[in-house]
């Protein structure tokens, strides 16, 4: 009978070592699952795509930063970003992201950490935290999370050894997917509560297909540090759309920093891949992150999930063509057409922002009233968050093409309205 035969065949792997909830080192897991482990190690690869992927820039290692390779600086590629983030750590060092293998070192050595005081909270998404968290929390994950959030980053950093590892996504005994990140556990619960589903427990209630995206949503999301405890929080109580998140911050009276040149109470958006994907037709169709970024791949007699997590455009055959029977070149062209439109509109929005910042600076010098300035700052705050929501989203619009364009359209309107607020029509007779 089919069912039974499945059971027998279920696990074609040999259990060489016994894994438990304290086994952090991926090399040990790799003894049982060498194919996944080998692929996982390949996240060191660095290869560009037209708009994404990752790229290696050689550098001479120093005391402070021993890295011999880094990703290119976005600030040098587009200096307008320095103006957008004026007065905030991101204006000092912001680079392209690269493979999972680098997450821990890239965080450790970024000038955002070296030149600014950062909380232990940061580690949540840049290391294998499950074991240290539970240890520090005496068996309680959340307690450990809270313990590290309040420490200075460098002090917390000492207890973490690996970038993301198997145990961050898998149950060591069943190998089932498992969410281990307090930020997501609490964030998704707040989201579901807002939708009328109380006490949502993702590990108990999510379907397997949902888990194929939720494990990524543990980190590829917008976040902020809440209150004195610097508690990592995903601002989802009102929903996942950019407007709902901006409203959430307004009501919480939250700001990330005060813009150095305009005095606006500014917000920073970070990598909302999960939120944007949720607005797109792929997620509506039940297509998970893993479907495209970890597609099944044939290895010998077996089909396994490609643990070399990377841009699907480097792997169109497996990532797209099982579902889309179009030639590889055509699929690439479709993705790039979407990205090209997004980037063009994003540049238009950045130009509008530059003009608003210049106007605000000038109006400030010219002694405009607080009321007028604050109105314009309000437009800057919101518009900047919208642009950043697309700018920092790493698919250049692919995850939700129309939504990305609509967000940028709204942003342009906010920036220009800010300028208009600062520029009254001249009274009749003024020579122009």
């Amino acid at each position: 009978n089919i069912m039974e035969r499945k059971q027998e065949a279920k696990n074609p792997f040999f259990r060489v070592v016994e894994l438990d909830d304290a086994t952090e080192d991926p090399a040990l897991w790799g003894k049982n699952f060498p194919l996944q482990y080998d692929a996982y190690l390949r996240t060191v690869d660095q290869q560009r795509t037209r708009y994404g992927g990752s790229e290696a820039l050689p550098r001479s290692p120093s005391e402070a930063d021993p890295r011999s390779q880094v990703a290119p600086s976005r600030l040098e590629e587009d200096p307008r970003l320095k103006t957008m983030w004026a007065g905030y750590a991101f204006a000092v060092d912001f680079r392209k992201k690269r493979g999972h293998a680098y997450m821990l070192e890239d965080q450790t050595y970024t000038e955002r950490v070296e030149k600014f005081k950062q909380p232990g909270t940061c580690i949540h998404c840049h290391a294998s935290v499950y074991v240290p968290y539970t240890k520090a929390g005496k068996g309680e994950l959340i307690k450990g999370f809270e313990h590290y959030n309040v420490l200075p980053y460098q002090e917390a950093r000492k207890d973490f050894r690996h970038p993301i590892a198997c145990i961050d996504c898998h149950d060591p005994v069943t190998m089932a997917l498992r969410v281990t990140r307090p930020g997501f556990l609490e964030g998704i619960r707040a989201l579901k509560a807002g939708q009328g589903v109380p006490d949502y427990d993702v590990n108990a209630q999510a379907t397997r297909q949902e888990m194929r995206s939720f494990v990524c949503g543990q980190c590829h999301v917008e976040y902020y540090f809440k209150g004195e405890e610097k508690r990592l929080t995903y601002p989802w109580a009102k929903g996942l759309k950019v407007d709902q998140i901006a409203d959430y911050y307004d009501e919480a009276g939250f700001k990330d920093w005060t813009h150095a040149r305009t005095g606006a109470p500014a917000l920073k958006a970070q990598h909302p891949e999960f939120e944007m994907w949720n607005q797109g037709v792929h997620s509506r169709s039940g297509v998970a992150c893993a479907d495209c970024h970890m597609p099944y791949t044939r290895v010998g007699a077996l089909k396994i999930s490609d643990h070399h997590v990377r841009s699907p455009l480097l792997n169109v055959n497996n990532a797209c063509q099982t579902c889309h029977k179009w030639p590889e070149a055509e699929l690439l062209a479709r993705a790039e057409a979407i990205q090209g439109r997004t980037v063009a509109l994003r540049n238009r929005a950045m130009d509008a922002l530059m003009e608003l910042v210049a106007d605000l600076e000038a109006a400030r010098k010219a002694g405009a009233s607080a009321a007028v300035l604050d109105q314009a700052r309000g437009f800057q705050r919101r518009g900047q968050f919208y642009v950043d929501f697309v700018e920092s989203e790493n698919s250049n619009g692919f995850h939700a093409p129309q939504e990305a364009a609509r967000i940028l359209g709204d942003a342009i309107d906010y920036f220009r309205k800010g300028q208009v607020a600062l520029r009254p029509l001249p009274p009749a007779g003024t020579p122009r």
Binding site: L177, Y296, K303
Partner: protein
């Protein structure tokens, strides 16, 4: 509406279907006329006897499986009784719908027949897919093959041939 999903035991089911057909006074007739018995064979063309099956037949002839699997390899369960029950069931209901012309179009696989097809995917591909995914997660179904391989049985022109979750019973 419930067509193929008759919740009757196998052997009894086959009998019930034929009796029911006779009772309605058309089963026997349409069945014979529409070569009802002939497609109890594994001849794909037999299914295409019905023009309403032609699209799927054409799709099958373009699919990667045309040479390796016929209709029944995917659409009938592979335990002996179930096979003939399902066929008689299909046969009777297809004849019934076909005659009365009262069926929803475009024709869609029922939950039951999609489940049968999925089971058949695994039957033939056990070795390849054995490693796929981890033991089912609390509250989840096994992962669906058709979600990614929707066109292996029927290569359709146009859209991504991805199965929706739904399907009439």
């Amino acid at each position: 509406m419930s067509s193929h999903g008759l919740g009757i035991g196998h052997a009894a089911g086959l009998l019930a279907v034929l009796l029911l057909g006779a009772a309605l006074g058309l089963g026997g007739y349409t069945f014979a006329y529409a070569k009802g018995w002939s497609y109890l064979t594994n001849d794909a063309a037999a299914c295409a006897n019905c023009h309403v099956m032609r699209d799927q037949h054409d799709g099958w002839t373009k699919s990667s499986h045309r040479a390796v699997a016929v209709c029944n390899d995917c659409h009938t369960p592979h335990d002996p009784v179930g096979k003939y029950y399902t066929k008689a069931s299909n046969g009777f209901w297809h004849s019934y719908y076909f005659t009365t012309g009262t069926f929803p179009e475009p024709i869609r696989a029922t939950r039951r027949s999609r489940a049968i097809a999925e089971a058949n995917c695994r039957r033939c591909h056990e070795p390849v897919v054995a490693a796929m995914g981890t033991p089912a997660h609390a509250g989840s179904r096994e992962i669906s093959c058709v979600r990614c391989h929707g066109s292996v049985g029927h290569l359709e022109l146009g859209a991504t041939n991805v199965a929706g979750e739904e399907g009439h019973d």
